[in-house]
Amino acid sequence: MDLTYTESEQAFREECRAWLEAHVPRTPLASHNTREGFAQHVAWEHELFDAGWAVVSWPKRFGGREATLIEWLIFEEEYYRAGAPARVTQNGIFLLGPTLFECGSEEQLERILRPMARADFLWAQAWSEPNSGSDLASVRSTARRVEGGWRLSGNKTWCSRGSFSDGIYGLFRTDPDSQRHRGLTYFMIHLDQPGITLRGVDDLDGEEAFAEVFLDDVFVPDADVIGEVNQGWRVAMATTSSERGLSLRSPGRFQATADRLLTLYAERGRPERLRDRVLQSWMDAEAYSLYTYQTVTRMREGGHIGADSSLNKIFWSEMDIATHETAMALLGESAWLAPDAPDATEGWLHDFLFSLAGPIYAGTNEIQRNIVAQRVLELPR
C-alpha cells in the first residue's frame, strides 16, 4: 500500500495542471445542453484533443498518451479542480469507445475513434425505448437484413444531447423470433440518414438535454455493426466491466464539488446547524476517491471491476445528491434563483437538478442494488 504518488505521477499532475491553468476558459461556457453552449464545448474539445488531453489513457495512435489508470485519475482530479468544461464527448469516449476497444474491428477503431475523441463526430447513447427503461432487454426496435447492411425501425429515447449529436448507438432486435437478451445486435447509426426523425426533450432546467429518435427503415451498413450479429447484449455488457468505461466514475468531480461546498460553508459563516452535513459530503468524497484508487490498482493488476461498478454508482449518485442538497440549504432562499436573476449564485441550482438524475440514469439505483445483491452477494433471484 503506497498512497503517495510516484515522481512520474507527480510530474504528470504538474503537466496537467499547468496546461489547464493556461487554457481553461476564464468565463464558464454556456450550458452544454443548449445548441449555443454545445458548440462552445465542441470547440473546447478540439483544443483539448489537439493538445493531447482528450483521452489520456488511450493509445497514442488514437490521440491518447497511454497514461496509466492512476494518471487518468490524476488528470480527472486536475480537470475538475480547474473548473474545466463538461465533456460533451463523454458518451463517445467513455461508453462507445470502450465498447469498440473490447469488441470493435480494427477498421472501426481506425475510422471512429479519433473523430470521436476530437469531437469531430459526436455520439449519443440510445439505450432506452419508451417502454424499455430499467428493463433494458425489452427492446422492440428492429433491424431487417438487406443487401450490404440493415434497415432499422423503432423508437429510442433519453439520448443525452441527441439533438446536437452526429450519431447514436444502441441495440436492435435482429432476430424477430427472439426474446429479451437474445437476438439483439449492437449498431452505430448516423443521424443524417434518411428515415430519422428527432424530437428534442427538455430537462428540469428547461434545456434540450435529451432527444427522442424515431427510425423508419433507416439504412445502416454492415461496417457499423459492433461484434457479432445477435450478440449485441454480450457486446453491451462487455463495456460495463471495461476499465475505461464510465462505470468507473472518476472521483475528481466529487472532490471538486466537496471543495466548493467547503468554500461555500466558510463564505456563509460556518452555520453550525449544517456542519455535519458539510463534513459528511467532504468525507464521502474522500472515501469515494480512496475506494476508486483501490479499484484501479486491482484493475491494473489484472482484476475486473464487474458488478462492483454498481456499488460505485449507488455511492456516488447518493453522495452527489446529498452534497448538492447541503449546498442548497447553505444558500437558503437564494438557492432557487434562476441563473439570470440579479442575486443568483453560480452553478449550484443547475448542478443540484443534475444530481437528482444520478440515481436514475445508466440503470436506476434499484436495478444497481438488484445487481449487487445477485452478483456480489450471490443472493437468489
Partner: protein, 325 residues
C-alpha cells in the same frame, strides 16, 4: 378532546379545492410563466381573501383551524400566489390600525405580500411583486414597506415570481410574533398539500408504467419508496393541524408547534420529491411532464419562511433549553 376538523371547516376546504382544481391545473401553471395568469380575483370571489380578516373590516374573522386546509389546497395545486402571506398578515395590519388597507385587501383591490426577515442580507417577497406594500416579518418584529422598490428575481419555479424588497419601512404596532407564526403555518400547510400531489403523481405512474412484464408499482423497492413518502406525509399532517390549534388557542408553546409544523411538512415534501422522481425515472426529469412544476414549488416553499434547520434551532431553544446556531 376531538382531534378532527368540523364539518364547516371541511366544507370550506372542499369548496376551495373544487374552485382551485378547476382553475389552477398544470396547464394554468405553465401559462403563468409567460402570461399574467392571475388567481387573485378568483380567491376574492371565493371569499378566501376575507377569511382571516376581522369581521369589523368586512372579513370573516376566521382562525387558523379554519383556513389551514385552504392553504393545504393552495399547496396541492401549487397556486402561484402569495395566499399564505396574505392570510398571515391581515390580522396584524388590522391590529396596527391599517383598517382601510385590510378592507381593500379582503376584496383583492389592494395587494400586500410578506417577506421573511431572517438571517440573510436580503428579503424576498413571493409574487405580486407589484403589490402596493410588503410586510417584512420576523419572529419578533414587523415593518410595513409602503412604497417598496422591487427587483424581480426569476426562480426555478417559473410560476412563482420573487422580488427582493428595498424601501423604508414603518414598524407595525401589533403582534408580529403571532403573524410570523401564521406565515410559517401557511407555508407548512402548502408544503403538506404539494407533497400530496407529488406523491399522488408517483402512485398513479407506478400503477400504469410496466417494466419486466408488470407494473413497476408491484416491485417491493418501488412500493417501499412510496410508503416511506406516505409515512412522512401522514405523520406531518397532525403536526400542522396542532400548530393551527395552538395559534387559535394561543398555546404557550405555539412557536414550537409552528416550527415543528414547518419541519415535518418540509421534510415530507422533500422526501416526496425524491421518491416521486425516483419512481418516475427519466420521464419525471423532463420539462414536458408535470412533476417538476410541483417539485419546484415544494423546494421553493421549503426554503421560504425559515429553513428546516432554522426552525429546528427554534424548537431546540425552547425544548432543550439550549441556544445553538
Amino acid at each position: 378532546m376531538r382531534a378532527a376538523f368540523t364539518e364547516d371547516q371541511l366544507t370550506l376546504a372542499e369548496a376551495v379545492r373544487t374552485a382551485l382544481q378547476a382553475e389552477c391545473n398544470a396547464e394554468a401553471l405553465r401559462r403563468a410563466w409567460t402570461e399574467t395568469h392571475d388567481f387573485w380575483p378568483l380567491l376574492a370571489e371565493q371569499g378566501v381573501l376575507a377569511l382571516s380578516a376581522p369581521e369589523s373590516l368586512g372579513g370573516m374573522g376566521m382562525g387558523a383551524l379554519d383556513w389551514v386546509n385552504v392553504a393545504v389546497e393552495a399547496g396541492k395545486v401549487a397556486l402561484p400566489a402569495p395566499l399564505g402571506e396574505h392570510l398571515a398578515i391581515v390580522e396584524l395590519l388590522a391590529e396596527a390600525g391599517h383598517g382601510e388597507l385590510v378592507e381593500a385587501m379582503t376584496t383583492g383591490e389592494a395587494r400586500v405580500s410578506a417577506a421573511f426577515a431572517g438571517d440573510a442580507e436580503k428579503t424576498y417577497a413571493v409574487n405580486h411583486g407589484r403589490g402596493e406594500a410588503v410586510v417584512v416579518l420576523g419572529p419578533a418584529q414587523a415593518t410595513l414597506v409602503r412604497q417598496p422598490v422591487y427587483t424581480t428575481q426569476a426562480t426555478a419555479d417559473q410560476s412563482l415570481q420573487l422580488a427582493s424588497v428595498d424601501g423604508d419601512g414603518e414598524s407595525l404596532d401589533g403582534d408580529a410574533a403571532r403573524a410570523f407564526d401564521r406565515a410559517v403555518l401557511a407555508n407548512a400547510a402548502q408544503l403538506l398539500g404539494v407533497a400530496e400531489t407529488i406523491l399522488d403523481l408517483a402512485v398513479e405512474y407506478a400503477k400504469a408504467r410496466r417494466q419486466f412484464g408488470k407494473p413497476i408499482g408491484s416491485f417491493q423497492a418501488v412500493q417501499h419508496h412510496l410508503v416511506d413518502a406516505l409515512l412522512k406525509r401522514r405523520f406531518a399532517a397532525p403536526v400542522v393541524h396542532r400548530a393551527a390549534h395552538s395559534l387559535d388557542t394561543d398555546d404557550p408553546r405555539r412557536s414550537v408547534h409552528v416550527s415543528m409544523a414547518k419541519i415535518y411538512a418540509a421534510e415530507a415534501a422533500e422526501l416526496a420529491c425524491r421518491k416521486s422522481l425516483q419512481v418516475h425515472g427519466a420521464i419525471g426529469y423532463t420539462f414536458e411532464y408535470d412533476l417538476h412544476l410541483y417539485m419546484k414549488r415544494a423546494w421553493a416553499l421549503s426554503a421560504a419562511w425559515g429553513s428546516v434547520a432554522w426552525h429546528r434551532d427554534r424548537v431546540a431553544a425552547t425544548v432543550l433549553g439550549d441556544s445553538h446556531g
